[in-house]
Amino acid sequence: MNWFITLFTSTLGRKLLMALTGLFLILFLLIHLIGNLQLLNDDGGRSFNVYAEFMSTNPLIQIVSKGNFFFILLHVGISIFLSIKNRSARGSERYAVTSGNKSTWSSRNMGILGTLVLVFLVIHLKDFWAAMHFTEMPKAMYDGVEYRDIYSVVALWFGKGWYVGLYVFCMTAVGFHLWHGFASAFQTLGLNHQKYNPMIMFVGRAFAIIVPALFAWIPLNMFFF
């Protein structure tokens, strides 16, 4: 058991947890996106409401959802711990002149980008997740079955310009976080190989652009069209 504690209290072990939770969150983003795209169906919100009902009641999804919350907390917790450690590793005196042109902007600002994502997560969870779980929702009937009408709640928020602006801004932060984070997680796991590096890089960067762009497209579409 000792080795287990040693492993996960070492910097490498902590980074391993960062990478694993990060990759899990990437998978989560993808599934979440597929769900959100239902908002674009021109059916008055029916397919989105049916999907949301399934996600908030299915027992298996509930377990995964608990895990997801735990992984977010773990990812954030370790990142705070490591960021403090990294800052103190520089020592009491900092450089007077620095030049960051040897690394990407994203890679140097993962903490700030992550914090933006966290702020977004809190707002987002309050407005949609907490609304769905803890408040009285408007109802919709499809084929004689009653559903909670989360679509109308989403439509209300996405009708406000400032909210859509905030949403799009935060999606950019997610994009930049993943611009570095996706490939970085593989490097952390030790999955670095001449034959696969270009593919990991390509998929990571494509993911970092396409997924946040599609997320952002949904409120833009609902606001303007």
């Binding site: 000792n2 080795w3 040693t6 492993l7 070492s10 910097t11 490498l12 072990g13 902590r14 980074k15 391993l16 490591l82 450690k85 990294n86 103190s88 590793a89 520089r90 020592g91 009491s92 005196e93 900092r94 450089y95 007077a96 002149v97 620095t98 030049s99 960051g100 040897k102 690394s103 990407t104 890679s107 140097r108 993962m110 570095h180 490939a183 970085s184 490097q187 952390t188 796991l189 030790g190 999955l191 670095n192």
Partner: protein
């Protein structure tokens, strides 16, 4: 050339340092960076001032003793050691800021000299192979594929100067440690102590208070020997597999 130097002066590890400005009027573009400092030091001594302390030894780019954080880059603007840097890499009239490596694990000894014995302790914790005495083995007795030998040799070119730590925004030593882990992990001679080595070296690295790598790649771009961050991925692999599979041998051989 006329060069203005802003140099970090610090009496010893317990005092607070500050920048001091020096103007050098007659710098030849053919001088090496360290020669330029030598000339400045001569002037200071002649004027009865305290000379500037900086590390150097071979001045051939092979010992890893020289350091200096020059205008925001370890070893200056080129990807080489400070001793191999020449004044022609700077412009006439330029102001050059020279700082020591900044890391909690590398305390300043005096002026621009830092104590890098943290690296020695990491190396001592596992960066070696044990060879028993006996007859001399035949050369090429152990077959090693050329590409593997090259990869190990590339890792072994690390001179342990600490530029990776200086360049890293997290003051992480992972490029250094991973090079030292890799040079043995790749070769048959390194196999017997492979798992123990990486476990001990990583533990010592953490013990010294270096930061955690965030894969920015700044170290690789600044390393005078061009050590690749592929080595860091290899160290991670080595470490995770060692930690999860190595025997925890108790005294007396365990059960």
């Amino acid at each position: 050339m006329k060069i203005t130097l802003k140099i970090w002066r610090q009496k010893d590890s317990n005092s607070k340092g500050a920048f001091k400005t020096y103007v050098c009027d007659h710098v030849s573009p053919d001088m090496s960076f360290l020669e330029m400092l030598d000339v400045l030091n001569n002037d200071l001594i002649r004027k009865g001032e305290e000379s500037i302390a900086f590390d150097h030894d071979c001045r051939e780019g092979i010992c890893g003793m020289c350091s200096l954080y020059i205008n925001g880059h370890p070893h200056g603007p080129l990807q080489t050691t400070t001793c191999q840097l020449h004044m022609r890499s700077f412009k006439d009239g330029e102001t050059i800021t020279i700082e020591p490596w900044r890391a909690k694990a590398f305390p300043v000894v005096k002026d621009l000299v830092v104590d890098r014995s943290a690296f020695d302790r990491i190396q001592r914790s596992g960066g070696f192979i044990s060879v028993n005495t006996g007859g001399v083995p035949d050369a090429n007795e152990i077959p090693i594929p050329k590409k593997i030998a090259d990869e190990a040799f590339d890792a072994a070119t690390c001179i342990g100067c600490g530029a990776c730590v200086a360049a890293c925004k997290n003051a992480s030593a992972m490029l250094f440690v991973s090079a030292k882990v890799s040079q043995f992990a790749l070769l048959p001679q390194g196999k017997p102590e492979r798992k123990e080595r990486v476990e001990k070296m990583v533990a010592q690295m953490d013990e010294e208070g270096f930061g955690a790598c965030t894969n920015t790649g700044a170290c690789e771009a600044e390393c005078p020997k061009g050590i690749s961050i592929t080595n860091i991925a290899r160290m991670n692999r080595e470490y995770f597999s060692a930690m999860t599979t190595s025997y925890e041998v108790a005294v007396g051989g365990g059960e």
